[in-house]
Structures are given as structure tokens and as C-alpha cells.
């Protein structure tokens, strides 16, 4: 029976995982840009702005995992923690800062 261990593991399709990553990235892009614009419109400054980003980022990730992945993200991604939490972090932070700065300057 030991020999058959490798056949018990589910096989993941690389193309679909790539597609899932792209889908998550697109969702995060939208959410973070909108959140940045909202933060700027609310005229939040320094720490509270970054806290707003963290809350948005983590909440979106949690909702994505619970709702869209049906609480089993391991089915759709190779390494869940890195793909969901860390891969896009800097990119989304920069997008957020840009939208935040832009709307902050435009409204203020």
C-alpha cells in the first residue's frame, strides 16, 4: 500500500493555478485602488492610512479565501500563504499609495 501513496494526492493543473493567481491579482488590484481612492477622499493621513491598507488587504484576502475559495484554498493554489498573502503585497501597497496620494491631493 505504501507504493500507492503518490496516487492519493490530488493533481493540480498548472494552467488553472496560473489563472487563479491572475484572477486573485486582478481582484486585489481593483480593491486596493478603490480603497486607496477612498482613503484619500476621507483625508486619512500617515498611520491611519496604512492601517486602512492593511485592513483592506487582509479583509479582502480573508473574504476571498472564505467566500470564493469556499474555505479550501489549497485546492486552487500551490502554496496558499505565499500566493494569497505575500506575492502581491508590494505591488498592491504601491498601487494603494498612488491612489491615496492622488485623491488626497485632488480633494485636499
Amino acid at each position: 500500500m505504501d507504493r500507492s501513496d503518490q496516487f492519493d494526492k490530488p493533481v493540480k493543473s498548472g494552467t488553472n493555478i496560473q489563472d487563479n493567481k491572475k484572477r486573485y491579482e486582478r481582484l486585489m488590484d481593483k480593491v486596493c485602488l478603490v480603497a486607496g481612492a477612498v482613503t484619500g477622499i476621507l483625508q486619512l493621513e500617515s498611520t491611519s492610512g496604512f492601517v486602512a491598507f492593511l485592513i483592506t488587504y487582509l479583509l479582502t484576502a480573508a473574504l476571498y479565501v472564505l467566500w470564493i475559495c469556499g474555505a479550501t484554498p489549497g485546492q486552487y493554489y500551490e502554496s496558499v500563504i505565499s500566493n494569497i498573502l505575500f506575492d502581491n503585497f508590494m505591488r498592491e501597497l504601491m498601487g494603494f499609495i498612488m491612489a491615496w496620494t492622488f485623491s488626497f491631493a485632488l480633494i485636499g
Partner: protein
């Protein structure tokens, strides 16, 4: 217009200077820079698609060679999906074939025994040319926009950043503003340029999803092809020999062994 732009005044002096900026700055500096950067990014994307080299044909012997290497790799990787008998047959056939080097593509130059110079090889220089063009397409617009911002929008404070920065950023972000003790949060147009350069990736992703995907696909498939085209017959022969060895020593486990037990366990 410039006199209009320069109308930023200091409202209160002191430790925390609060500036009152002309609202026209937003419409004549902030928005134009943003629009130009987004449009340039889109243009760059299309230019890169246009100057990317098309799909190149390959001689049939090369394709045959590649297909047989692929076949061997696939057999090693997915061999567990076929029965023991079929695996043994394929193993015997492929290891013999690859070891004999029957399908190694031999060009005329290689038959002479001389190794072709990679610098004069047309495939290689084409690849280098397209890489250089891609780099140019990305850094020329950057340089031009930076020059444009520095030239036309220098010498005044444009906006207030919503977060504090350390003093080290002062020289970079307040270039052209001759005040020694102005808070670093008040920045000039070039810093909006920097923020946009760093933060526009998500915007481009949302604006041009399909084309970016296509390009990624092209980029992923190209290096493999070029490598195949550049490989020398001697290297290919070595690859085939080592693959033949791999196949000869490959352990085979069929997924149909004990499949009944596993299915029963699944529904037990």
C-alpha cells in the same frame, strides 16, 4: 500659465508650515502628468507587441528531434498512468532510439566539424535584437517623461503627501524648491512621477488584461524555442543519451495497481 502655476504661497510660517496651494495646480500639473503616464504605458504595451518577433518556423528535423526528447521526458514524468506492459515496451523502444541518436538534427555546418560562431548566428542576433528593442521600448518613454516633468513642472510645490517621510527624501522629492526647512511632505512634481511609476502596475493590469496575458504567453514560450534552435547537435546527442539512461533506470509504478482498494477506501 506658468505664472498661474507658481502662485503657491506660504500661509503660516513657523515649525509646521501649512501651505495654501493654488487649486489650478491639480488641473494643470497633476492630471496632465497622470494622463500622460497612463497613455504612455498603454502605447508602450502596443509598441512592444508590435516589435516582438513573430513565430519562426523550424526545419522538420529539428521538430522531430524536439518531439522525441519531449516524448522521453513525458514518459519519465507521467509513466505511472499506463500499464506495466506498455511502459516496458515504450521504455525499451525509446532508450534504444535515443541512445542510437537516430533523430539528432544535423546541419551542414555541424557536419563539417566546425562550431558556428554564436555572434554571427542569425537566430542568436535576432534574439538579441528583439531583447534590445524591448529594453529600448521600456526605458525611452521613462526618460522622456522624466525629462518632460523636470523641464516643465520644476521649481514649485505640487502636492502634500498623506504620509511623512524622512529627511533623506528631501533632496530627491523637493528638487527645485529652494527652501531649507520645508516639511518633506510638501513635494514637487517629480515625486508624483516617481509614485506613478511605482504604483501604476495595477492600473495597467486592469486596463489591458488580455494583451498582457497574450504577451506573457509569448514570452514564456519563446525562450524554449530559441534554446532548441541554438542547441548544437553534440549537446542534443548528450541530452538524448542521458535521457536514455534515465528511462533505462526509471522505476515504474502503475496507477492501476491496487486501484480497487483505493477506490473502496475512498467510499468506505
Amino acid at each position: 500659465m506658468l505664472s498661474l502655476l507658481l502662485k503657491g504661497g506660504i500661509a503660516t510660517a513657523g515649525a509646521v508650515a501649512e501651505l495654501t496651494l493654488d487649486p489650478q495646480l491639480k488641473y494643470w500639473v497633476l492630471l496632465p502628468i497622470s494622463v500622460v503616464m497612463i497613455l504612455t504605458g498603454i502605447l508602450r504595451q502596443y509598441v512592444q507587441v508590435m516589435i516582438s518577433p513573430g513565430v519562426k518556423g523550424q526545419p522538420r528535423v529539428k521538430l522531430t528531434e524536439g518531439q522525441y526528447i519531449l516524448k522521453a521526458q513525458v514518459l519519465v514524468g507521467n509513466g505511472s498512468n499506463i500499464t506495466d506492459k506498455s511502459f516496458q515496451e515504450r521504455k525499451e523502444y525509446l532508450s534504444k532510439l535515443l541512445a542510437s541518436g537516430k533523430y539528432v538534427a544535423r546541419t551542414k555546418a555541424a557536419q563539417d566539424g566546425s562550431t558556428p560562431n554564436p555572434l554571427t548566428d542569425p537566430g542568436m542576433s535576432d534574439a538579441m535584437m528583439s531583447m534590445a528593442k524591448g529594453n529600448m521600448a521600456s526605458f525611452i518613454p521613462q526618460t522622456v517623461i522624466m525629462w518632460w516633468v523636470n523641464h516643465f513642472f520644476a521649481g514649485f510645490v505640487l502636492m502634500k503627501l498623506p504620509f511623512p517621510l524622512t529627511l533623506r527624501f528631501k533632496e530627491m522629492l523637493q528638487s527645485g524648491v529652494m527652501t531649507a526647512d520645508l516639511d518633506v511632505r510638501w513635494v514637487s512634481a517629480i515625486s508624483w512621477y516617481f509614485i506613478s511609476v511605482l504604483g501604476l502596475n495595477p492600473v495597467f493590469n486592469l486596463l489591458m488584461n488580455e494583451s498582457v496575458d497574450d504577451q506573457l504567453g509569448v514570452m514564456q514560450s519563446q525562450p524554449a524555442q530559441e534554446q532548441d534552435a541554438m542547441a548544437q547537435p553534440a549537446q542534443v546527442e548528450a541530452t538524448m543519451k542521458s535521457l536514455a539512461n534515465d528511462i533505462t533506470i526509471a522505476q515504474h509504478e502503475c496507477c492501476f495497481d491496487n486501484v480497487e482498494k483505493r477506490v473502496l477506501k475512498l467510499y468506505a
